[in-house]
Amino acid sequence: MSFVKITKNYQEYSSLILRPEMLYISSSGGITGSQYSSHVRSNRFKDFEDYTTTAIEQQAGSVAYHDEEQAHQVTEDSLTVTNGRVIGLLPDNPIYLDAVNQSPVSARMRCQKLIKRIEPGKSASFTIDDYKKNTIRKNLNTFYKSKYPDLGWHYSNYHTINFFKTANLPNDSCLMYANKDQTYTPTSSFTLSFHINPRYDNITPGQEFDAGTIFHMSSSLAVSLVSGSRTDKKGLVSSYKLLLQLSQSADTHPGNINLSSVSSGYPNDLIYLSEIELSKNTWNHVAIRWSPDQNNMSGSLIINKRQTYFHIPSSSLMTENDAIILGNYYNGNSVNLKKYFNAGKADSRGINSLVGTTTEPIGQSTDLNSPLQAEIHNVMLFDHYLNNREITFISSKGVNNRKLRGSLLSDLYSKLIFYVPPYFIPESPQRSEVIVSPYRYIYNENVSSPPLKKGWTGPFNPGLSFSLGARMINLENFAADLSIPKAPKFPRLQSLTGSILDYTVDGNVTKDNYIFNSRFSGQIKKRNLTILPNDNGLFSPDYFPIQNSYHSTSVYYQHSVNSFVSQSNNGPSNQAVFENVYDYSKISLENLVIFNDIYRAGQFFVNEAVDSNLGIDDYLNHHAGSQFRQLFGPYNNFTAGLSRAHENLYAIPAMTKDISSNEVTIFDISQLYYGLAVSDFSFSIIDDNVSGSDGKVRIKLKDNGKGSLYRADAKTRHAKWNNVGDIICEEGIVTVKSPHLIKFCKDKTNIKLKGEQTLHTMILNIPVLKDYFNSSSNVTYVNAPPTANKNDEHLTTKYITAVNIHDNNFNIIMKAHFSQPIVKTEEDEFIIRLKQDF
């Protein structure tokens, strides 16, 4: 044995960052990829007592639950008592081995840490989920704001209009814009522009992919999506074409057109099929233009800058018509079409009236039977033939009122007659049927100055959200035609509105039953999925219409730039402390309702003195004049009737003192899954079957390396700036904030990420010089030469089997054993390299 001082010259240090990949899938079929609390596990470790079947787990209501602290306590307690099992038995007792065998496998070995999915604010009581939400919203978001600038309780104002078709949902759904006073009818020249992503296929190989109409003006213009020539390896449609019908040919149902020979004699002589095919799940820009003054009355169908030309010798292709229909084809007559905009619906839904009667049109499901299956956005109709430069501009930048180089127009916006981006605006039509609870409408009134229509102002229905914990998207606030920024025009939401229930017929419903299992669920589910986050990275929206609307200073666009000032729940008075920064690309999810003073503790009004022994139900039952009756609105049997719900008093904020959005989904990922942090750009989460979509809508979110989650479904470039959620990599906290992602990953959670773990390595080079390590103090040491050869007989042999590392006080702090002994003689000299990772 010898001692050698290991100076710094013999030490090497290096560090590595490891990024292991992790896949976690949780569904009703089981969980894969879950992490155990103990990194080394063996079911050969047993517990002295079966702690997991005690009240600890029963309270948690989860088999996988394991409370480390309590279990440890029970262990210690058990060690002090003789409980008739292993403890207290001596090993010579005949039942000792049997008792061990019957003991449960150690709870510590079985304990798994699952990824927790949290939906806060779903009950009228303050829960740990509400606490977690506000810890993220107030504390973590504030703390990490400097690293992730887009953190906050908001989401991006960049969406698509999603049309899809399933057997269980209404297929006549579409957006119908009344063409009152022919404001939507171009005078002669026109340009129609939109972006489209054909995401959906025919599901079953060989099954027909039905033509779906994107845009329809009767007797003027119809554009439909039809199947192309390619199929994928599963035999499903993977390419599409556009079918263009002009003038009188637009009155032929696209399903009746033979795609192998689209154009025939009058009236079907103005039908064109695009030469260019659109690939499945890609974003494409489409422009259709025609002018009697251009190239001898020629026009073109442009897809991603590639043109299909057509020539129509006519002075105009447009005739007077009644409506623009997005997402379906109207297959009826003009008289019936006007009835969709009857006076009754004008009152109840706040749309323009075209006829004075209140009669609803008959045969709606047959009138509208060519539903689109695709996502579209930025639908623009110009009363002008745009040149190539102008089309190139609007395909990537949208439209504004600035002079464009290469354009003869002073600005493009002045020629815009129809424009559905869709943008969120804090305004919806004045109407008598504003749903405030599953049982009640309220009537909203206009605001005279500025002349706003004020239905629900937020992105989702606050009455349902804050009283019932249910989610209904305010589709009216997204679907407006913004061609005139200060006078948005709202469509008839055909089969997309839902309706209230009759308490005496339907009984008391739960939140999920109203949305997913009631008489009107089909419409509500489709309504909720009509607006989806946009993943088109080929386009950058211009928020000119909002900036020039009456909403330019709305609280929904107001965002704090001072990260040290929390956005208070105390209502508008506190907003004065914010910097007045307006960002129209973000929709605030703070302060969604007025914080009513009645929410404050101690201010509940009751008829009688407060009795601490009474619960909420007691007040509801016995204290007739209590404001609890209104406050707890539609949440329970007692207030389910029409007169009980209140549009400004909600149960959940009363309990949580929180008026920010609860329509979020939070994923709490344990550090066991990622180590020090989730690696940037590595996180993705998939919902294969968004709730209510019958398996048609699939959403994938990825992180952009700056703390934002964006939608990443398309095969073309993604809009990585489009924030639909946040990820705080250091904390493993993922917040999906976009309310359009209904019950995100409720049935199946599919998360993939890479963790980050630093591995430090220390290498000690131990010099074994020839004059060292030449004796052994082992009692069995025999002084023998390495071989029997003459030239070795003067040498002695040592077998080095281990190295001990000592500190300055000669305490052994590390040991290394060799897999086999190393031979050392007086002539040998070498270096032993010890490597320690930590």
Partner: protein
């Protein structure tokens, strides 16, 4: 946040406690071929046979050892004391280098002797010394000449085996051999080397070791393994800190039992020796010495593992381990006037302003805080450890708090 207070040495205490785990090894772990891994590093042979390969020991796992999640439970092997009759009877001399020579009917004798010597070196400090059970006995009859070694892995032993918790079920007899030799016991024609035993088990334990504490100079504390039905019958040793059990095969088995079957061998074209059959090989072979001398280590370990421990889902071996927990207790005291204010940016009043106490209003305006976290710093104000409270504790000038921070390592 961030009120600092120096903690004196009087408020720092260290303690040590012991945590126990119960370890349960199942019969099928050791009997199954998928859970017992061999390492066939020994190779021998002649021109007239196909040779023999064998391990020096087997490792038993808690599940199929090809799975990544499998854990090693223990190693198992056999050894022979160089001074035993078993070795002496088979020994034919010593070569010029001191190497022991053995008869051609033997196999791996030098390996068996060296394994014994290696354990003696490790546990007794002298490779030439013999193990005796009871430990420290001077009686020649207490020498363990034929030893079964079981090394429990550190994952299960941790800081040591707890005394008086060890128990092992063992079948002293194999099944009966061929009628020719054991006519009164069993039907004709069954080999018993690798056929499971169904009755006749005993339990060996270390009961009484908590009273009679023995220590080896190099092996640490030692206990005697005894027959639970006759605790005066000492059958082996248990080294608690090393996690090694040594069992005397002569005492835990019926050594004179006839063995029948075929085992690997060199020197004949069959590459095997037939034991226990009339007119073939060694018809009167006994467990000791014939099987231990003629069998390879794999054959012997395989016989012991698959026959003597059972093969069901019952426990065949158990013990409890010790894990020492060193704890530092740090008492963080907040007197009435301390920690009543916070510099947290969210420490604001109802109007969103940072709470301040006006100098002239100190007697009237009183602040309070909610303590959520204790940070422990070194002398250079570097944060060393953070303790989070399960829930915030309100602190005001009418409260005197002591938070006990415990660090286990």
């Amino acid at each position: 946040m961030a009120t600092f207070k120096t903690i004196s040495s009087a408020d720092i205490k260290t303690t040590r406690s012991v945590l126990n785990q119960l370890v349960d090894f199942i019969e099928e772990d050791v009997s199954g071929s998928s859970t017992r891994k061999t390492f066939q590093v020994f190779v021998t042979g002649t021109n007239s046979d196909t040779g023999v390969t064998s391990s020096l020991y087997n490792t038993v796992f808690d599940q199929n050892y090809q799975l990544q999640t499998a854990n090693e439970l223990f190693d198992i092997t056999v050894g022979l004391f160089s001074g035993s009759n078993t070795v002496a009877d088979a020994n034919t001399g010593v070569d010029i280098n001191g190497k022991l020579l053995f008869t051609s009917q033997s196999l791996m004798m030098r390996e068996k002797v060296n394994i014994y010597r290696q354990y003696a070196q490790l546990l007794l400090g002298d490779a030439n010394q013999e193990f005796k059970a009871p430990f420290g006995s001077s009686q020649a009859t207490d020498t363990i000449n034929e030893a079964l070694f079981i090394n429990f892995k550190r994952l299960f032993v941790r800081d040591g085996i707890k005394r008086e918790t060890f128990a092992m079920r063992f079948f002293q007899s194999a099944s009966a051999a061929e009628r020719v030799e054991d006519a009164a016991i069993h039907a004709l024609g069954t080999d018993n080397i690798f056929r499971g035993t169904i009755s006749g088990s005993v339990i060996f334990t270390d009961v009484g070791s908590a009273v009679n504490i023995e220590r080896s100079q190099t092996g640490g504390s030692v206990g005697n393994l005894v027959n639970s039905s006759n605790t005066s019958e000492t059958t082996g040793l248990l080294f608690y800190q090393q996690g090694i059990a040594i069992l005397d095969l002569a005492k835990i088995t019926s050594g004179s039992q006839k063995m029948s079957g075929s085992i690997a061998a060199v020197g004949n074209s069959n590459s095997s020796i037939i034991l226990g059959r009339s007119g073939q090989g060694n018809p009167k072979a006994k467990f000791i010495p014939d099987f231990l001398v003629s069998g390879s280590i794999d054959d012997i370990v395989n016989h012991v593992s698959s026959v003597r421990f059972g093969s069901g889902s019952q426990t065949f071996l158990t013990f409890q381990n010790n894990t020492q927990i060193n704890s530092t207790l740090i008492f963080c005291r907040a007197t009435a006037d301390e920690f009543n204010y916070s510099s947290n940016p969210t420490y604001t009043d109802s109007e969103g302003r940072i709470v301040v106490i006006d100098e002239s209003e100190q007697g009237i305006q009183k602040s309070f805080s909610f303590i959520t976290t204790v940070g422990l710093y070194d002398a250079n104000e570097e944060l060393l450890a953070v303790a989070k409270l399960s829930r915030p504790i309100e602190k005001n000038d009418e409260k005197d708090l002591t938070m006990r921070v415990r660090l286990d390592f």
